[in-house]
Symmetry: C2
Subunit: 348 residues, 2 copies
Amino acid sequence: MPVAVDAMGGDSPLSIQLEGAVRAANELGIEVVLVGQETQIKDRLQNMPHSANKVRIVHCEEMVEMHESPSQALRQKKDSSIRVAMDLHKRGEVSAVVSAGNTGAAMATAKFVLKSIPKIDRPAIATLMPSTQRNRPFVILDIGANTDCKPEYLLQFALMGGAYAQTMLNIDNPRVALLNNGEEEGKGNQNLKETYPLLKKSTLNFYGNIEGKLMYQNEVDVVVCDGFVGNITLKVAEGTFDFVKQVLKEEIEKSWVAKLGYLLMKRPFKALKERGDYTEIGGAPLLGVQGTVVICHGSSKPYSIRNAIRHADNCASMKLNDKISSLVLENQNLLLPRKESTPLAAAG
Amino acid sequence: MPVAVDAMGGDSPLSIQLEGAVRAANELGIEVVLVGQETQIKDRLQNMPHSANKVRIVHCEEMVEMHESPSQALRQKKDSSIRVAMDLHKRGEVSAVVSAGNTGAAMATAKFVLKSIPKIDRPAIATLMPSTQRNRPFVILDIGANTDCKPEYLLQFALMGGAYAQTMLNIDNPRVALLNNGEEEGKGNQNLKETYPLLKKSTLNFYGNIEGKLMYQNEVDVVVCDGFVGNITLKVAEGTFDFVKQVLKEEIEKSWVAKLGYLLMKRPFKALKERGDYTEIGGAPLLGVQGTVVICHGSSKPYSIRNAIRHADNCASMKLNDKISSLVLENQNLLLPRKESTPLAAAG
């Protein structure tokens, strides 16, 4: 089944998306459906050689701008590219949706159209971060969808992250940890203190708390946090990486000896860049909706879009959501809404 | 006035502390009071040349272990080195206290013995992080003292951080920002949304929200967050730095060309290490108590203890707390406890 690509989303609508989609079709043989302004898409596709039976177009008139309010877009733009793509997915005409557009709008539309997986209150965005062990990244979620999270939500993130690690990273019994400001039980803010016992009771392979430093050392496979902390974590990591790059560059410029040294060290630096950069996988999945949605940076390059399409195709064909549902089922006693679990309600 | 040093605190009591203190006395001419088991201290000092009038000892029998409960230590160990040091400070016999011991116990004891500065509810720990601009670090607080913070506490941190930047970094009108998951007003969790307008109304030079990536780019001088987020930020930064180091080392090992390159690049790497490492300043001040307390890592080296003693001495002699009090006074209308600010209370 084809993957729908939001052709109008991202910082440069109708260019990067089309190029990435055509590359996915040509290089990976994945069928794509481009959702957007048909004549404009056709026009641009003329300059991109592709096999017509792999690349289809579904027309729509509207698009959601990058800084538009998600709720407003959801209410008012029912013919936007992201909405039409989700509708196609809902009707079973595509296996997944890839968008580099307004993240909030993509999330809100996905939740509204596709609905959440039963017992999942809050879909979350996951991504991979590298560990110092080659080819052993870890999953971190949520990285931005939900800022204020109850303990039950964090448990749901843990279950979804565990399912992702099992299915997509092929890890049998992934080690799941809570990102915290100390290792001992009882550490952290009130929410984390209440989440710890839930994870302990779950069927997950619960590692306990992990600190922001140790998480890089291949100690765990899934790191759970709320979307606020997840965002800070990713941005601080990027910022630190940039700091190292900028300062080294500045210091190297100061002497020809160092410049020569840098030339000789090209290969290790290249390896560092590759090992540090998990955007290679292409996009970040929105876990917990009844469907497959992969979200890309607005500034993604065609190669990232291509990979995100492959990533989405894999999530769908490897039945990631079935794994999430089965982990949720195994742990449903922990996910019961607290208010309803009174003796009376239980008796009813 | 001398600086009290908790001689029993830290991972190796009675060794690093004494060496650091003696170095501060010998190299910087700062008078120190070593608080701890007198005979053991005397015994060890015999092997460390020092001028007797710069190094005094105040005896105590007990010590707080690194993993002891702070509240229990406070209740039960009234003759511990950290307690005796704070008591000396309270009586005005020393200008400051430096401890590498149990951080929680040092904080709890400082708050109990010295009391908070009026209108400061929660003292906070501050530290410096580097920006890409040489010699332009920024202050970040809280980095661990308080995990759950109300908006008023974050405002207090902002005022204390501002005072620190003015006094200790010599910045006239420091740019103060909230660490957040986006730049726009209205971003973040509920707490941050409520903190933003408070900071906007304050007399501080409020920059707005800053993300974890941009904070390195010399955009701001003070970054405000709760202690949980502060801890995650520092640890992720350290972890990312370590990741870079470990991966580069591994990749360099693979070829002699790269090894040679590394040799030629020694100087830029050394500069990177120096520019990235603000532990040089020595310890992290506990801001908001009526006194000067500098907290060091349990694993500090003598050189760090020496610098922490200088740091404490500077905070005291530069009257950092007067600056905090005056900023608090300027903004006291924002710090009024919300419940008390009823017309009745105001009239009373």
